[in-house]
Amino acid sequence: MINLILLFPILAFIILSLFKKKFLNNLMINLYALIHFVVSMALCFNVDFLPMWKTCRFFAIDDTNKIFLAVMSIVFLAVAIYNNGYVQKETSLTKKLRHYTYMILFFVFSMTGAVLSSNLGITWVFIEGTTLASAYLIYFHKTKNSIEAAWKYVFICSIGIALAFVGIILMTIATGNLNSLFYSDLYHNAPLFNHFWLQLSFVFILFGIGTKMGLAPVHFWLPDAHAEAPTPISALLSAALLNSAFLMILNVFRVMVIAGCDGYARIMLLVMGLLSLFITAVFVYHINNYKRMLAYSSIENMGILAIGTALGGIGMLAAMIHLIGHSLIKASFFLTSGNILEIYGTKKIKAVTGLLKTDRKTGWLWIASFIGIAAFPPSVLFISEFLMVKTLFMQKHFIICAVFLLLLTIIIYGLGKSVVRMAFSSNKESELPNNAIKLSWTMYAPQVIMLILAFIIGIYMPLGLSQAVLMAVAGF
């Protein structure tokens, strides 16, 4: 059944290149999103409706990547719906649109492959694939700024991924006589691994894939790329790509835990996580571009995931809940920022005034997304951050806890200042944007659905979901 989500993009590619019809572009993205959603949900609930079709052993679903796959498919479905309204306004060139469609299909394909693969090497290949696909998408507008963003993205991420490959080579040295990179083999034989090479390999993989995930000292491509990419792509980058990079780090971290040299890995994750929070707190306050602001918020949330992973136990549980909540809310935040960009035609925070008066729906979505990301109850992020603070207390890391809370407060203030200003400030008559722009319903509905989901999980988490999350973090 996994084959279906992996083979459909190829089929769609062939169909698109044979029949170069314009309506096919959107149809294929929507169809893929639908198939992705149905198959992912079936995989999560262990329903196999194509039992005859065996998957090759490089791809498998397990307790951990289930969550990642489900989150990705929900986000992709939402983005696909949003995309219908977005591309109508964006471009009229059929050829450009077709390339855009190819690349979105390839991008989602490679992220799905990275999440589902059961082999460290294959995960690496797919993560590389995501760089190639998203480079074109970031460069889609073909302006000076987007070239710069795409160049930085490709270059920094390629170097990061190359370093991660060094990490994989070192991992094969550490494995001794085991001639396999399958996660199951790695977990099974981890206690026998050579600790020196294993620790060295973790450093390289953490920094290499951490580049892709946007952890702090190596995050430089992230604000540029997120700000310059078309809106649906920003949402996918932030809510799906960063997660799939995180999954690879998580899998390698699990090897470290089983091998018994996780103490050192935890310190590195903790430092990188806190540094991410610090960088965001420093930059978010003075920022003048609201898409960059959201990108910095993504760095912050990736930092929180790293901290949760470092803490282990309940902290890990909190990280997993945080991941779900962040993806839903941040995707909705980015999509809403796309609406603002359509209405006002600028990314400057100062140029956007009186959002609520100009477009009521977008304004409220903007505020609701902010409430979600700032972890005010009933947002699900409240639960995860609360659990994380609780874990910090239980493990007696009082100073780290104080720093964590302080940095979060600064970040919320920085975000809130801009969001409130954009939403509630009064319009100057001369600066009233052109009200003629009417956005279609597809540019509101996905955000509403994702926010409702995030808030419902915050109040009532269904038993199935909480069990799935518990299963996903077992063993950390």
Partner: protein
Amino acid sequence: MENIFIILLGLSMIYIAATSRLAAHVNMLIAQGWLLFFVCLSGFAKEPWFNWHMIASTGNIAENMPHIIGFLFVIVETLLVKAIIIPVFLKKVLNKTQAHRDTEANIPHFYCLVIASIILFGGFLVANITAPEFKMVDGMYFGVSIAIIITSLWLITIKHKVLSNVIGFITMENGIFLLSLSVAKEMPIIVNLGVLLDIFIAVFILGMLVNEINNEFEDLEVAHLSDLKDYEYND
């Protein structure tokens, strides 16, 4: 035998560090491709399955199929891609963009020579570590490849032309390829294919971007690529 080729690889990095002509850098990439090919060949020549009688009977070929595929891969990877396709492509880009020299490096070339030599010396020192952990790798491969990777990363940071950055990236990939040879075991073939894809497409995309940058900006200086930032002081 292969140690000679490996040392020459290390020396080629010193040459790249010490010159400013981009065409010379591309020529060095060709040389590195050939050297890596010879390193692989001499590695294969030591394998027990490798002899010319093997080709005589089809039974032997079928038996050694995985080795032969690995061997073919190495030929394609090192000779075809590293020594032919990438340099030809880069030369085309060079001609098109009229970028010949990377003159304004932050550090004078003489110091570059010294620093690259010190890094290579460090690599040789690493090659001679006798700790028990290092018995799991071939020291010479390991030390020199680490030196190549570090030199490349350092060159990327000091060079001013985007094309020099691409060349630095490729030499780093060469270093990583040498590192993967230092592991006694074979990497799974699909991972090797991934590496090939990585180098090929990364260079292709980077080359395309170089063209685009050349069209948009007047010349290929990295300094032009600094519009995106968080603060605008005169706002």
